[in-house]
Symmetry: D2
Subunit: 294 residues, 4 copies
């Protein structure tokens, strides 16, 4: 089976390699062509443009940095739309909002192509190990056909219904994650201020019903005040904001997420937006200049 | 090694059995004597009163229902204080507040006895399986001596420092747990109202960084609207309230826990206090009688 | 001085009458022509279309129901744009969002016209009494020229800077108002549940530092459970949501407004959206169907 | 009519003077005797102790700094209890919690005396002008008898029912006040960050439905960053905390007050507790030391 692959950033490169390793023939394209050459060494062919890749491939997968990159690869000069047609399929695995996804879907299908959005949960390591979680939505028949690709890329894929549901599912998960991160931060702060050992709190939690990988991985670093950016705080806050907006449409009260959101905003206002989202823990250490006045 | 054991409720009975199974000689007492006989069949001897048990035992463990039971067993007629003395130790594994614990500690040590508070994390099943998590605080030398008991009762024990810290650690853990439960409920509600499958949300979360046993166990039942009481909602709310009060002393802002607390209060106001704490999920289904007016 | 007036709803009619009473010659237009006749009896002339009014007037004031009406009167067939030109001015006093306002401003000025947005604070009674508060933004020179109109319509007008600032100022004021309404509701609930007389609470507050007309007017009706719609709850919630979105851009943490917003959403989910915004008080009376289960 | 008066702080001195001015014969006592002399110049007699004042007076009014002072004047050596008896009445106008009030009430009435708690709303200026608001609770017949005193001291008095209700009413009012202060702060911050003039926001609000003396008085100083302590922030936070605890008893959800409370706690954690409660506005200006890291 032959497949096109657009976008060779950290995630895309690892994914394209996994496709090659699993015996697929892959034609790659990347805005900066030099990144394609590393893939060529592993057997990939190189396309000159998104349009060129699509013209040669029945299926084209995209893994792009953000909504604007996702849009420009489709709508731009030499873009996907110039070659997409009946019999060809486009699978966008970039993380984009539901609106962007719908816009791309609409134009692809107008031209006779088929579309699937398939954002992933998981970052660099799971991408390299083929252990991503794939949140697919769009055309069910296409989903069934591309399972072999997804099996090479992830440990599990879900079909979630109409286009937009992949993006929404990510928002819901990230909203819960943001509230949990803030809950962890409050627990650590309360422990510290109450004379309890913060690492022991992590140890106790890790043995019980609320044990989870995030507390295990981020907790010790938060105690140290280290926040190496895996998932930037400003993106976490944006996702909670969008989830709250989604809830607003149907009048779903979510006061815990709303409270967490305000603290992530507070962290942004303190200049922490580019650190890891666990840096929300720093807001308890904020200081003022009122010592003399008081 | 010989040990006294006071209190044979669901938890206490399972714990006393584990001590017997691990080869300790155990003298038991319970307010309702009939419960002692089940233990006698497994080799326990029976004491006539807390005082009688203490008089015969170097170490006495208590596992009582609540602070008032814990106080009455110590301070009441034929209570622990009548026989505790130099060379004897009292380990209270009941879940009580720091004040109750301190009061008991003070009187025990005045009489020359040694004291350890050791509340546990875990309920019936872990108690039966000897898999409790033990949060001990008080006299370190005594903690070291009674490790063999704790090894029989739990999978892990922690020594947390001065009396009161065991109770505080439980509050912090339960506060984080309450915020997480509310976060889960909000995620399920948002998924449901956005056209996403709620069980799929649970499946997706269970594969990623926030996967945890509580979501796995409670989530499916919450979708069904089932809340078999494992940890009553009113106790969960009380623990968050006490944790917030602890934070108030040191001015630790905890807005997510505060928001969760208000929703647990709302659930209480709807008559859900005796259901499981996961019943906080029901508040989104509350209805009014304004249909006609609107 | 001659002035055109577009839109004769409850507010617009009262405002046009005040202009006539103050000696201005007014040409009116309304989508439903019959409403114009009441004004003609007071001396107004009638225009056949927005374009016709603009062609005859140096200044045209609009007071329309919502953003879509505001847009259609400008951009539609026989609309304002067809006749606006150098030497003519358009003052939009409708309540619209900053984006709508900017869009209108842009096209008016492209044609050589001058533009002022001037949303008002106050409802029917102040409109009739010429006691509105006018929040103007746009071209300062135009503001200075039309002060005579504003003097006829309001007790006070403000010039707030560039187009969009009028809309923003309304959002900020309405956000504070929404938080205050929720604070009042919580106070009434707490008083009631604590054995205090709710009317006495209102009386006490009305004598002190937080005395305000809203508590005085809405409070007694809230105790009775009456919510005659002066400002619909769904609009109040929308304004808080938009204010929070405005704050998000600059990372301003506003946890009290966020908490109030979630309760207004809860009220919407209970079907209270079309009642007065004071109906947020009803959420404390929501009930479930768990009586038997508990 | 003759009356005893205990406590000549800022408030008490002004109140005792008003009683004298209104023609009552007053016997005063103060822990620091020198303060009595100023009153003697205006015609007061001086008592050697609380007991001495009570022995000479049918009615004794107390205005003490805090609960511990209120308790010690009653229960201490030469205290009120030593002379209170059938036919004598004690009116405590200090601001104390409901528990303290009940404790005093109980002992006074055991000795045959009659009791009224009567905390006031209003500070130095209203005390001097006889414009306090008096929140009385306890024995209704006594309340009716002492109306002449209250007429001299305040512009309005309320009888609120059983002892404790005076304290509770103050908590409810102060809770609403705290939420409003936080709402004001958020409005000012949002205005400032959105390019609106903050003073204009105050002006606009002061003309509409939410106009209130607190916004008028505190608002301009908050813009300047001035917080002269009229009502200390730590007391405001304590009152919200106590109000939330009162609500907890009856499961009244109060998320806006809870969110405000967390921000007042945050302000305390920044060292602002002794400034005026309007200093909660400073938390938006808190800074960190992460500039380099980001």
């Amino acid at each position: 089976m032959e497949v096109g692959f657009l976008g060779l950033g950290i995630m895309g490169k690892a994914m394209a390699l996994n496709l090659l390793r699993n015996g697929f023939r892959v034609m790659v394209w990347n805005r900066t062509r030099s990144k394609c050459e590393g893939l060529a060494e592993h057997g990939a062919s190189i396309g000159e443009s998104p349009a060129a890749v699509v013209s040669m491939s029945k299926y084209t997968i995209a893994m792009l940095a953000d909504p604007s990159a996702a849009l420009s690869v489709v709508f731009g000069k030499d873009g996907v739309l110039e070659q997409i047609c009946d019999g060809k399929s486009y699978i966008d695995m970039s993380t984009v909002d539901a609106d962007t996804s719908s816009k791309i879907s609409e134009e692809i299908t107008k031209k006779g192509g088929r579309f699937l959005e398939a954002p992933v949960s998981g970052s660099k390591k799971p991408a390299e190990d083929g252990q991503l979680i794939i949140l697919a939505a769009g055309e069910k028949a296409l989903y069934d056909e591309v399972i072999p690709f997804f099996d090479a890329l992830g440990k599990k894929s879900f079909f979630l219904g109409p286009v937009g549901n992949g993006a929404k599912m990510k928002l819901v998960v990230n909203m819960v994650m943001g509230s949990m991160m803030k809950a962890l931060s409050e627990g650590l702060s309360l422990a510290g201020s109450s004379g309890l050992n913060q690492q022991t709190l992590l140890d106790v939690m890790d043995l019980g019903a609320i044990a989870n990988p995030m507390f295990r991985q981020k907790g010790p670093a938060m105690i140290q005040g280290n926040y190496p950016p895996a998932f930037p705080l400003k993106h976490q806050q944006k996702d909670i904001r969008l989830a709250l907006a989604l809830g607003d449409e149907n009048a779903v009260p979510m006061p815990v997420a709303a409270a967490a959101n305000e603290d992530f905003k507070r962290a942004r206002s303190l200049g922490l937006g580019d650190l890891d989202f666990s840096a929300v823990h720093e807001i308890v250490k904020a200081t003022g200049s009122w010592g003399d006045a008081v």
